[in-house]
Point group: C2
DNA sequence: TGTACATCAGTGAACGCGCGTTCACTGATGTAC
DNA sequence: TGTACATCAGTGAACGCGCGTTCACTGATGTAC
């Protein structure tokens, strides 16, 4: 009955990754409040001093968990872009929906991602990773401009606006500012994300 | 040299408000990490048991601090709307700038506002208050539609998009995702907020 | 192939700290007569 | 106006808890000869 039929290895093998995964489990089941070294070690099945063999301190473990989140988000966005190679608008809408759904599905993980990256100097790799979505937005926008679908202008500025919209919607939903009206909050969120991105693309001013 | 020449009143007079203000001071000087009952009491100049005469527990004090933030934000937005009674676009841009500047000026207070409102049922007043900006957006948008400046459509949907953009930019800036390139980050943020809102209003699709 | 030793991952007990909260108290305020 | 008493805001000592971190250790692994 031991997990995955491993006979509880003496030296565990890959505790570092196991700790990160345990951290994700803790975030999913207990939220940020439960994310502490002792609980993560408990879930990973090791003593609470063991993590110090792999992480300098708690902050380092949290940073690794955040890093994992950005990699997952990046992978999800790549997948969606590959699957939606139609117009720029459709791609941007799909990316927005993917982003918001990720935030809702892994809400506490998402929170950790954006509260532990505060220092661009001390953790440059993590900071760079946190911009993954932004860079993919720029690419999609540039392509849309080249194809003539989108208005001309600095794609970075456009990407800032779209990222702000996507991220803002994600954060507001995660923070329960738009309580779901039906029993499928994820579908609602996806629809809202689609509407928001489309509205940004179309504008609000009467021509 | 006693603060405001008060001779240290025996019964303090208005400790409840003093505790909220002490909380703001703590947030400004030490951030969220320093926001605990004992420190707030210390800053307010009372024993750490005194707050329990006015708040049931720590959560209640934090909720009061959040409430104060929403009232301040609402007041700032009202002021800006009153001062900018020109076109709908100009009003919406000014509101976005006001919102983002508020978030940056009182960043940890802003964080507290949007992390303590999670329960719409248990704290209905606070939840209602948290929508103040949203409701003002709806009003401005409706007015813009009536005047013919804005495209027709559900103003609530438009407001969701604009709020998401404003809030997202605010959160990303607070979380250092757009590190300032000059020495006046507030001015930069104001400019970015103006650009973002204007971009949302104008759209990105080629007509 | 076998032995001796260095290396290193994980253990468990312990430390110290700060926190939220409680509780018997003290001292000031307000009110009834 | 003055006195007695109830009320209530603030005190300070104390409790208990969970946390991050340290440290001497143990047990497994790898390597040199």
């Amino acid at each position: 009955m031991a997990r995955k039929a491993e006979p509880k290895p003496y030296h565990h093998g890959d505790l570092r990754n196991a700790l990160v995964e345990a951290g994700l489990k803790v975030l999913a089941e207990q939220g940020i409040a439960g994310l502490n070294l002792r609980e993560v070690a408990r879930v990973a099945g090791v003593s609470h001093a063991a993590p110090y063999r792999h992480f300098a301190d708690k902050e380092a473990l949290v940073a690794a968990i955040a890093e994992d989140g950005f990699r997952q988000l990046q992978a999800a966005l790549r997948k969606v872009v590959a699957k939606t190679p139609r117009t720029a608008s459709q791609q941007l809408v799909a990316m927005g929906q993917c982003y918001v759904l990720f935030a809702l599905k892994y809400s506490d993980h998402f929170r950790v991602m954006f509260t532990s990256t505060r220092d661009a100097e001390t953790q440059p790799e993590l900071y760079a990773l946190s911009k993954c979505g932004f860079l993919m937005l720029i690419d999609a926008i540039s392509a849309g401009q080249t194809s003539g679908a989108l208005v001309a202008g600095d794609p970075t500025d456009f990407a800032k606006t779209l990222w702000a919209t996507m991220h803002g919607l994600a954060v507001l939903l995660v923070d329960q500012q738009f309580p779901p009206t039906t029993k499928s909050p994820l579908k609602e969120a996806e629809a809202m994300a689609g509407q928001c991105v489309q509205r940004v693309l179309q504008g609000m001013i009467r021509p």
